[in-house]
């Protein structure tokens, strides 16, 4: 049996690893190209759909809505009674605005909360100033053991910690440290009195300040609500129209070419609709193509690189360096990958280019047999990896041209395997 050594296997894995690094980088380049193209097409698709729905529903009135329903069949636009709903919303917003405008906090907002002279603002400043008088006493009493001293009654007759316990001496030391900060006071009991007075006064001032801050915050919240409600009222019609245009766009997207007969008498709308639907289809095709080819290739390449790295480590170890492995297994394992991936990438590039440059949206025929894929690729590229295209082929097999097709490894399939029919009767909408 002919064999190769572990060293030779590791060398072959290194060569493969180098190729995989380059392949991954190239695949990333194509993914970058896809991302840029996708962004451009998505922007165009959104703009085209917006132009279409703006043309179909230019204003928010009964006549406009009726026309949009006639063109699209989107009867929800009538059944949901959006004009009534909008008027109800307008009444609620007006009611809330009136309620806010009647509240004391809002009516006297400047008198209460003007930053330079508002009543509450001045009161808060006074309280803050008053509290400063107690700050020194409170700050000077700060000590990790202060709470323990107060709780145990240190400095008073209630203090009962026995002198044979360490805490007695810890209290003593802490008490002395605090008293030292008050030159005018002789004992901790005096400091304690001063501290408790300051603490209670500060707590009372803090509570009053908290109450004023809460009042200011409530007033400010009311002012914000007033602004938001006024804004909502001012933009009500515009927002409602935008909302219904978005719903209409979704409906148009779902209808697709079925809208054709309804738009037959409206060539301008028909043009806008075919452009919007064509761009939406293009976006979906670009996504499916990248998923099916680039992302799949990426996963395979990353897994292959990880395997090559494992094998390099394994067969470079002294234990495996001279181990013998079947030559046939090595040949099978290290089959060149270049041809397969070159085909995948070429196929992706060809498909992506065909989709991206397509701009003949006027070719939409509005028939059930029409498929954007065929219009965009001129029926010459295999799109069966896209469920929508595959389903269309199943329903209308005669629409498929003789297309080159590939298996999962990127090999070209002979025509009899996929059984594509010659395009007799293929409908070219142009």
């Amino acid at each position: 049996m002919s064999s190769v050594t572990g060293r030779e296997w590791a060398d072959a894995a290194r060569v493969e690893h180098d190729w995989l690094e380059k392949g991954i980088a190239y695949n990333e380049q194509l993914l970058g190209q896809y991302a840029k193209r996708r962004e451009a097409v998505a922007a165009s698709a959104a703009m085209a759909m917006n132009e279409l729905v703006c043309a179909m529903l230019p204003t928010f009135d009964a006549a406009s809505m009726q026309r949009a329903v006639n063109w699209t069949g989107y009867v929800t636009l009538l059944h949901a009674r959006p004009l009534v709903a909008m008027e109800n919303e307008r009444a609620k917003l007006r009611e809330r605005l009136a309620a806010i405008e009647g509240e004391h906090r809002f009516v006297h907002r400047e008198h209460l909360r003007d930053p330079r002279g508002g009543k509450l603002v001045l009161e808060l400043a006074e309280l803050t100033q008053s509290r400063l008088a107690f700050a020194d006493t409170l700050d000077n009493c700060k000590h990790p053991r202060l709470a323990q001293l107060l709780e145990s009654g240190y400095g008073t007759e209630a203090y009962a910690t026995p002198f044979w316990r360490l805490s007695y001496y810890s209290d003593w030391e802490a008490g002395d440290a605090i008293v030292e900060r008050f030159p005018g006071l002789a004992s901790f009991s005096e400091v304690r009195e001063a501290y408790l007075r300051a603490r209670d006064a500060a707590a009372s001032l803090d509570a009053a300040a908290a109450g004023i801050r809460a009042e200011i915050a409530a007033g400010e919240a009311l002012e914000r609500e007033h602004s938001a409600t006024a804004e909502a009222l001012a933009s009500l019609e515009q927002r409602t129209l935008a909302d219904w245009r978005a719903r209409l766009a979704k409906h148009i997207q779902e209808c697709g070419p079925a809208l054709g007969p309804r738009l037959a008498a409206e060539p301008t709308l028909g043009m806008l609709a075919s452009r919007a639907l064509g761009l939406a289809a293009k976006l979906g095709y670009l996504d499916r193509t990248a998923e099916s080819q680039l992302y799949r290739a990426k996963n395979e390449l990353l897994a292959a690189r990880a395997r090559a790295e494992r094998e390099i480590r394994k067969f470079s170890s002294p234990k495996r360096l001279y181990s013998e492995i079947d030559r046939e297994a090595a040949a099978k394992r290290f089959r060149p990958r270049d041809e397969r991936y070159r085909k995948i990438w070429d196929r992706y590039q060809q498909t992506s280019d065909a989709l991206f440059v397509f701009d003949r949206y006027d070719r939409c025929s509005w028939t059930a047999e029409f498929l954007w894929w065929d219009a965009m690729t001129d029926g010459r590229l295999d799109g069966d990896f896209i469920p929508e295209v595959a389903e269309h082929r199943r329903r209308f097999p005669h629409t498929a041209r003789q297309q080159p097709r590939w298996d999962d490894d990127g090999h070209l399939l002979p025509p009899e395997i996929h059984g594509a029919a010659e395009p007799d009767g293929f409908h070219d909408p142009s």
Partner: protein
């Protein structure tokens, strides 16, 4: 600072510091002095049997927590309260530093030596 794995001043170092301060105050310290408390013989880390002043440095390492049961501590504290003896009880967990331990010992000695001072000569007679 010599500390055990919990970061406390360990048994040996605690005893050394307290012993040094107590001896410096003129006490005739006996180490591991036996004393019957709550019907049980316990050994105090340091004790002057004449002046009846001593200390017990409570550590987990020395097994003090088992030996100094709640009953033993109650008896010891009752005798301290009655003025029969003065034993400084220090738990290693409450000692922030060696310096703090020294300061606490010195202050305790100031109090204990006053309380346990021998009566004036006339009274003794």
């Amino acid at each position: 600072m010599t500390s055990n794995h919990d970061g406390f001043v360990d048994e040996a170092r605690g005893r050394e510091i307290l012993g040094r301060r107590f001896r410096a105050a003129g006490l005739g310290l006996v180490t591991d002095h036996p004393m019957t408390l709550a019907g049980k013989v316990v050994r105090l880390d340091g004790f002057d049997p004449v002046r009846r002043i001593g200390f017990e440095y409570v550590t987990t390492e020395a097994g003090d927590r088992e030996e100094l049961s709640p009953e033993v501590l109650e008896d010891l504290e009752a005798r301290s309260a009655r003025g029969e003896l003065c034993v400084l009880l220090i738990d290693e967990k409450h000692v922030p530093s060696e310096a703090a331990l020294e300061r606490a010992a010195d202050r305790f000695l100031g109090v204990a030596l006053r309380r346990m001072a021998p009566p004036p000569f006339e009274e003794r007679r």
